[in-house]
């Protein structure tokens, strides 16, 4: 069967690709577009490592087909920093040591950015519930939550 021709926008850039029905958006990002910042964890929507935004809505890219991206605006971890300048969330994750192995980090950053765009002043409880679908086996979460709260504070006072 012929491949699907998909036209999409990723981090503001128009991108076209061909994919089979079976290929997820995650497969396309990593294997075709070489955008390997988005990580594959569980592939069943439980861990959040593959988090991206689709038309500004946070989703797991492993639970979406590549063909469904047609006409959509995709946001990935590669869109966070501007050149060499880190996003405040990335800077705060470094300062608070909110990562160890780093595999979950892109997913946490994309999910946290989506939260702060919706709610610039979240409570700790709101941060924890929002990020409940992102699993980290290294940090125990406290440092991640502190980094997100601190980044939110910085963005608000900027």
């Amino acid at each position: 069967m012929a491949k699907h021709h998909v036209q999409t926008t990723i981090n503001g850039d128009p991108i076209e690709f061909l994919c089979d029905t079976e290929e997820t958006l995650l497969d396309v990002l990593r294997n075709q577009l070489n955008m390997t910042g988005t990580k594959e964890g569980c592939s069943t929507g439980d861990c959040g490592a593959c988090s991206v935004t689709v038309d500004n809505r946070l989703v797991c890219s492993c639970l979406m087909l590549g063909v469904e991206a047609n006409g959509k605006k995709i946001g990935t971890i590669e869109g966070l920093a501007s050149g060499d300048k880190l996003h405040p969330l990335q800077q705060k994750f470094l300062e608070h040591a909110a990562l160890q192995c780093g595999v979950c980090t892109p997913g946490f950053l994309v999910a946290s950015k989506a939260l702060l765009e919706k709610n610039s002043n979240p409570t700790e409880t709101e941060v924890r519930y929002w990020l409940a679908g992102n699993l980290c086996r290294c940090t125990g979460y406290d440092k991640i939550v502190r980094a997100v709260m601190d980044a939110a504070h910085e963005i608000r006072s900027a």
């Binding site: 989703v59 639970l63 990020l131």
Partner: protein
Amino acid sequence: MRYEAPESVEKACQLLADDVGHARILAGGTDLLVQIKTDVLDPSLLIDIKKIQELREINTGSGGFRIGAAVTGAELKEHDGLRAAWPGIVEAANLIGSTQVQGRATLGGNLCNGSPAADSVPALIAAGAKVVIAGPNGRRELPVEDIMVGVRKLALTKGELIVSFIVPPRPKQGGDAYLRFIPRTEMDIAVVGCGVSLQLDADGTCTFARLALGAVAERPLLVGDAAKALIGSKLDAKAVDVAAAAASAACRPIDDKRGTKAFRIKVAAVLARRTIQIALDRAHGKTGTTH
């Protein structure tokens, strides 16, 4: 595996009716894509219904709501009118999975996945919601409780799909709620779920009640005896005791890794009490969320 994204209900029904293999409807995909990946399902055709405008909208009219089958949990939560009128439905839908899953998972999918533990279903049943079904012979309506007839078994026939949910207007002095028991605070599947909708008259007598349970039988249950115990009472301790006992008596659960039969039967009564209380508080005009 073929992929089609029709832009009309009629075209989607025709694709379903004409398919000789195993066509599946793709809405949010949060159950379907996992089942394909783990080889539980091997569809020949995926019919993506998200390009059909009618399935993607929440319409309000005559005080009630028509919720498209492909409306996501996140969109339900952002609809102020629905959240104010039927907080139990919105909260139930928002217990399903993570923020990421909420961005994709739909009400229609939660019902059609055919799991007796589906969180949104007891809340919709308690609210007295109906389902609009489209098929090769036109449209028909069924109450939500008549759709899921067993584990992964639906009352839909070849070529039929769910278009929308019709939720009635919120009754005056009415309230609804949904609670589930899970051994943690988030990201889990209900051991027992309970949805309640109540209406009171001016002196506080219950004039209308519906109570539905999830995860305690092969399908979600509408517990008529619980409603009977509540209607006509002032929702005093004795009436609530009888309703809670009726909830337990209706259960025919299985033992599994999430809980034993005995535990589920006991918890059904506990949740019934707590859910009735929240629905009652809301009927009295108290606001607030369950978590």
